[in-house]
Amino acid sequence: MLTRVYIDNFRCFVNFEHRPARRELIIGTNGAGKSSFLDAMLMVRQFVMTGIPFSDASVLSQRTRWVNQDKMTFEMEVLLDGEKRYVYSLILEPWGDPVKPRVTKETVTLDGRPIFEFLAGEVHLFDDRFERKVTYEFDWHRSALGTIMPRKDNLNLTRFKQWLSGLHFFRINPFAMTSRTDAESLFPNVDLANIASWYRHLVQSAPKQNAEMIDSLRRAFDGFSYLQLDPAGENVRLLAAEFTKGETNSKLYFHELSDGQRCLICLYTILHFDLAKGNTVILDEPDNFISLREIQPWLVMATDMVEDGQGQIVLISHHPETIDQWAPQNGVQFVREGFGPVRVVEFHGDPSSCLSPSETIARGWQNE
């Protein structure tokens, strides 16, 4: 479970700290930094998991405009397996001519003791007894953590990387999705443009979860029967949904479904295959495109899964249905004064007014 995020000198985040709950709703006005929060964490995850160096423009141009500071800092604190507290730190600075971002510090600690260090171009590997084992030089422009392979003496580090690999971000875009898949995708794209390929992988690796998801979709969709991957050439499959109405069956390829139907299938896929595995998932406006009646059953299922101990979910939303269900117990608000830095305050509505939380926001009373 992600327990703390620290960001300094990235867009509107200056000395920013947030401690997410196991189930959380982030609200805030446009420009409050909600999506940038997702972008920052996504950027760090991709940097580590892909091993690809940052280009100049992608990171350094996103330093906070009003802070005259080179150093960018990102930290994630994670609680795993009960009591093990991991902290990942990444510090980037501009360097060279032409200027490129380089890693001046990348570390992982477990309960305050180092299990991995990449400092000033040198990697220091530790074993599970916290003893330094190997030191070597590495490219300053890349994540060294991403290159560390699992071994029998670095189980703790491997466990952290496994968690990071399961940290998934979603900004679902039905327009980007296609029916066609040429191969399995192990990981979902942020916009789920690769839903067909990701599902192709999931259905192979977790058939039980697939059965549960199909069951959920049958309750969510009128007439939904099942999902299938139709052969369409060597290694090519087309994702399709089968519907039954009375005696009539009809099949629609994924791109033929409505935007809302595609999004809803994606949302239940995330719950049954991602959250159910214990992963941390962060969704930006998951209620876009979804009809009013379909939002609450999905929220309720997410609530029950997390409350029953499965995973961690953070939603970013403006939707009144989502706000009224989750804000009273699980709401936080990102706020900025003018164009100043983002800070986080709890938001459960205005206890004195007895208005619904969404109505409090609609009236602009949330910050009074």
Binding site: Q296, D304, E307, Q325, P328, H348, C354, S356, P357
Partner: protein, 182 residues
């Protein structure tokens, strides 16, 4: 009475909703539950429920001719008597020119005293006192599930109810009879 097509849950907060959901999921196969919006905070929860009760009863009765639905109302007694909460709900109907709920109407009142945590701990076999406030004591998820299932067991005809069951929970059992069979 036919199996209801929808269950409307008017409750003070999420813990009330979760308890009712676990109970209904034990009672029915895949019940279609619609949770009404929650108030800003639990502090004004009972007022929130009372203010919306008449509207929900009116909507329930309007729909009754077309389809069978159920209205489940969960409101903490807090420091009041359970009967007083029932009377307040009745007054809310009268103020809106609505008739008292009939015995054959699937409008169910659950009134935990002192609050829903009291019921959850009681249904988990923990000794509780209705005068004590347990709202600050942490409820873990398994306890909510167990409470919903145990409440189902205790509310079945002929069920043996433990002697230490709190009175407000005993008064809720006849309310379950208002629910149509699956």
């Amino acid at each position: 009475m036919s199996k209801p097509s929808q269950f409307i849950v008017l409750a003070e907060d999420e813990l009330h909703q979760r308890f009712v959901r676990k109970f209904l999921q034990r009672l029915y196969t895949s019940p279609q539950i619609r949770n009404m919006p929650l108030p800003n905070s639990r502090g004004c929860g009972e007022q929130w429920v009372r203010e919306r009760y008449a509207t929900e009863v009116r909507a329930f009765r309007t729909r009754a001719a077309r389809a069978a639905s159920v209205l489940v109302v969960v409101i903490d007694a807090d420091t009041e008597e359970v009967d007083r909460r029932h009377r307040q709900l009745l007054e809310a109907l009268e103020n809106d020119d609505l008739q008292e709920r009939r015995v054959d109407e699937a409008i169910v009142h659950f009134v935990p005293k002192r609050n829903i945590e009291t019921w959850i701990f009681c249904l988990n076999g923990q000794p509780v006192d209705e005068l004590m406030d347990y709202s600050e004591r942490r409820v873990i998820s398994d306890q909510v599930s167990t409470a919903g299932i145990t409440f189902f067991d205790w509310s079945r005809p002929g069920a043996t109810i433990p002697a230490d069951c709190v009175p407000s929970l005993l008064t809720a059992i006849p309310e379950v009879r208002r629910l149509p069979p699956e």
